[in-house]
């Protein structure tokens, strides 16, 4: 069973994403911000991280991803953003995120990415 952690400060996103991933048959947990995400990850040890770029407080999505990669180097990170600037893309490439998902996105698109991520994880 693949463990997926969803981090978003928007409650509706959390709720929807949790439902979608759960329906895919994965073990899923949600966090409201970066600190919360790190807290959960320490005990949950996710294989896939779905994180919004822009979070409240100081930590952004990449910060969270970097910390969690420290816990699990094989972590697959999926970044979601409403404002996909060029700078952001470059940073994400440099970080070698697994996928870069722009809002608004199709749920199938998300499912496909998560599927690929979990496949690579199980392999």
């Amino acid at each position: 069973m693949v463990k997926v952690l969803v981090v978003d400060d928007e409650p509706m996103y959390r709720k929807n994403l949790q439902g979608v991933i759960f329906d895919e048959g994965h073990d899923v947990e949600v966090a409201v911000n970066g600190d919360n995400a790190i807290e959960i990850a320490e005990r949950f040890c996710p294989d896939v991280l779905i994180v919004d770029w822009m979070l409240q407080n100081d930590l952004c999505g990449l910060d969270v991803a970097e910390t969690l990669r420290g816990l699990n180097p094989r972590l697959a990170t999926i970044i979601i953003t409403g404002y996909p600037s060029q700078e952001l893309r470059i940073q994400a490439d440099a970080f070698k995120v697994f996928a870069f998902l722009e809002k608004p996105f199709e749920l199938d698109e998300l499912r496909e990415i998560v599927r690929r991520a979990t496949k690579s994880e199980t392999r």
């Binding site: 509706m12 996103y13 409403g82 608004p104 749920l107």
Partner: protein, 745 residues
């Protein structure tokens, strides 16, 4: 005080004045003695002449007169006796007659030839006329005797009245007449002689008186001159004394034996002897001198002068020991005093106290040495030029600077040490420097012995002699080569910098245009990013909800939930678009005088319900005496509403938001204070940035405070936030009272 006597007193004390006193004695006395002798001789001669002439007249004329009378008497007696004889008187004889006649003739002859009678001595007459008269008388006597003899012979026959008798009588008459004539002539001659004698005597007396008068005048003048000379001598003597006493130097005069004859008050002061005590004493008693260094007695200067006979300067370092033992450094000289005939009459010593001068001299010498040391060791070059510009002096620093030895420099022309292009400048400027007496910062390139060039800055002044004429220059040289190089480099650098600046300015000008364009793009970009983020979020949710509804179309409840969410998110998008439009509006709204309190009350109406819903209490504290401010009331209300909303949201249940209006120094102050969670420094810093929000979860767009900020700025006011986390937030707005030009009543 004036005396005709020799001024023996002063003469004895000081030998010199004698020379003048003797000079006037020389010629005059001889002349005076000569004239007195001459007058005496003249008087003697006159007297002798008078005596001699008187005697001569007595001796010559008295016997002659007697003789003339005797001639007549004897002849008359002869004639008388002859008449008697003729008349026959017996008592008488003819011999007696002849005797009388002969006697008469003898007297006549005696008058001519001289002779000696018992009574008188006759001196021969010299007057030729008278002699002829007497010879005539003698002839007549002879003739008369001849006739008398003839008549006596014819005595019987010759009676009275005869021819012989008549001849006889006639002859006698003739004889008498001639004798009378002689007598008369003699008397006339005597009178004439007497007159001449008197005349001569008168003349001689007059001459004597004249000569006497002359001698008297000469003597008088002589006396006056002598008196004057004595007065002069005395004055000169006094003058000399005063002069001597006034001389600043000490003066002691001695005679040839070395005994003090005279000394002045300065000498008295220095020796400690008074003149009265010192005069007559040996000089060595009064004037004790020793060598200042060896303390050996110095020889008697009088001896030295006397033996050498010339002026002698006494040795330096002579110490005079005064009577009371005081020692003084003196400078002195001795000179011989010579009489008018050149013989040594004494010695005069002149000396002065140079103790102080010696001390000063020593100080001066020390000062000179110090100066010399400073001069030589000075870090700056120094040189001194004469009027032609030739070196008189240079110091070591100068020589070190240019690599020369002193003897290679002194006497040479300054221009020889200049770089060739500066030689003319020096030639032209040097006279100006001499005239002005001062020069500052003159720059010359000078050449080192090894050929290297140095730029020197020269400060100079000139030294003058006692007449104020140019004597020499005093110049200090400063090596400014490095400074010059640095200045040149700096100038070059500056030029380069200026070029750079110009270039940069051009570039900046170009980039400013770019920047303006970029800034415009950036602000659009920022806004776009915000819009993208704010809109994409709800759009994402809408899309997600729609998909979920489609996927779960078998569950009507789930579909309905999804559709409601879609509705909410669409509204949210619409709200964001509206705010963006408001934020980006281009034209400012109109303004007019507004009662701030009224705006506050209206905003209360819009926010009261919201506050109640959140359990927050709203308090309004409005001052009553507020002036109107220039503003757009709708915009102002919107600002207040936004701020009250923010405050309420920050507060927890039961907390209070207070809105206060009051007068401010320049207008009206509105303060909105809450008791909420407060803001961090970072939040405060970004509070007015568009799309910066801490309430994303509650639907905050991040544009509220940005819009408030824009509105307040538009009204000409200011807005500040005073807040700390946990201690609430105060937003302070100040609006000006001034009514702007485009305001409406």
């Amino acid at each position: 005080m004036v005396s005709t006597e020799e001024p023996s007193g002063s003469e004895a004390r000081f030998a010199v004045p004698g020379a003048k006193a003797k000079s006037w004695k020389k010629g005059r006395p001889r002349r005076i003695y000569l004239s007195v002798g001459f007058v005496t001789l003249l008087i003697a001669a006159t007297m002798w002449y008078s005596l001699r002439t008187g005697a001569h007249m007595t001796e010559v004329y008295a016997p002659l007169v007697g003789a003339a009378m005797e001639i007549k008497l004897e002849a008359a007696l002869g004639h008388l006796w002859f008449e008697e004889v003729i008349s026959g008187d017996r008592h008488e004889d003819i011999a007696t007659v002849w005797e009388h006649l002969e006697r008469s003739a003898w007297y006549a002859t005696a008058m001519l030839e001289g002779g000696q009678s018992p009574e008188s001595t006759f001196i021969p007459l010299e007057n030729p006329g008278l002699r002829r008269e007497i010879e005539e008388v003698l002839r007549k006597i002879t003739d008369f005797r001849a006739v008398a003899e003839e008549r006596f012979a014819a005595k019987e026959r010759a009676a009275i009245g005869t021819e012989v008798d008549q001849r006889f009588d006639a002859l006698f008459e003739g004889f008498l007449a001639q004798a009378d004539h002689v007598e008369t002539s003699l008397q006339l001659l005597m009178a004439s002689e007497l007159r001449r004698f008197r005349t001569v005597q008168v003349i001689l007396i007059a001459v004597c008186i004249g000569m006497a008068a002359l001698v008297a005048i000469v003597l008088g003048r002589y006396d006056r001159k002598r008196t004057q000379a004595l007065l002069d001598l005395h004055a000169s003597e006094e003058n000399l004394a005063i002069t001597l006493n006034s001389i600043g130097d000490a003066v002691i005069a001695t005679d040839t034996d070395g005994q003090v004859t005279r000394m002045n008050p300065v000498a008295e002061a220095l020796t400690g002897w008074t003149a009265t005590e010192a005069v007559g004493r040996p000089l060595t008693d009064v004037f004790q001198i020793v060598n200042a260094q060896t303390r050996a007695k110095v020889g008697n200067p009088v001896e030295q002068v006397r033996s050498e006979g010339v002026v002698v300067g006494l040795a330096n370092h002579t110490l005079l020991i005064a009577r009371d033992g005081t020692e003084r450094q003196i400078a002195d000289s001795g000179a011989p005093i010579r009489g008018h005939d050149g013989t040594l009459a004494g010695v005069v010593l002149v000396f002065r106290d140079v103790t102080e001068a010696y001390a000063k001299d020593r100080q001066l010498r020390e000062s000179e040495e110090r100066f010399q040391m400073l001069f030589e060791q000075a870090p700056l070059g120094y040189h001194s030029l004469d009027s032609e510009g030739r070196f008189i002096n240079v110091n070591q620093a100068w020589l070190d600077q240019f690599g020369y030895a002193r003897d290679e420099v002194l006497g040479r022309w300054f221009g020889d040490f200049l770089a060739s292009e500066y030689v003319e400048r020096f030639r032209e400027r040097f006279p100006r420097f001499k005239a002005a007496g001062r020069i500052r910062g003159a720059e010359f390139a000078m050449v080192h012995k090894d050929g290297s060039r140095y730029i020197m800055s020269i400060d100079g002044d000139i030294g003058r002699d006692e007449q104020g004429k140019f004597k020499q220059t005093h110049c200090i040289l400063r090596d400014i080569t490095e400074q010059k190089r640095a200045e040149e480099a700096l100038a070059k650098h500056r030029d380069h910098l200026e070029e750079l600046v110009e270039e940069r300015s051009r570039q900046l000008e170009a980039s400013r245009a770019q920047l303006q364009r970029a800034a415009r793009l950036a602000s659009v970009g920022t806004l776009a990013a915000g819009i993208a983020h704010e809109i994409n979020n709800p759009l994402g949710l809408i899309l997600m909800s729609a998909q979920r509804a489609l996927e779960k179309n078998d569950d009507p409840k789930a579909v309905e939930t999804s559709l409601r969410r879609i509705k909410d998110d669409v509204k949210r998008c619409a709200r964001i678009v509206k705010s963006v439009l408001q934020f980006s509006r281009e034209q400012s709204s109109d303004k007019w005088p507004v009662d701030v309190n009224q705006c506050v009350r209206r905003s209360e109406e819009f926010t009261r319900a919201y506050a109640d819903r959140n359990g927050v209490q709203l308090l309004f504290e409005c001052a009553s005496d507020l002036p109107a401010v220039a503003a757009n009331p709708t915009e102002l209300e919107q600002a207040f509403v936004n701020l009250i909303h923010n405050a309420v949201e920050a507060c927890g249940d039961g907390q209070t938001v207070t809105l206060r209006t009051e007068r401010a120094p320049v207008g009206v102050r509105i303060t909105i204070a809450d008791q909420g969670r407060g803001m961090t420094a970072e939040e405060r810093e970004h509070a007015f940035d568009p799309f910066y929000t801490t309430r994303q979860l509650k639907g905050g767009t991040g544009l509220g405070l940005s819009i408030v900020h824009g509105i307040i700025n538009e009204q000409g006011g200011t807005i500040d936030i005073d807040s700390q986390p946990g201690r609430g937030t105060r937003v302070i707005i100040e609006l000006p009272v001034e009514v702007s030009e485009n305001s409406k009543e």
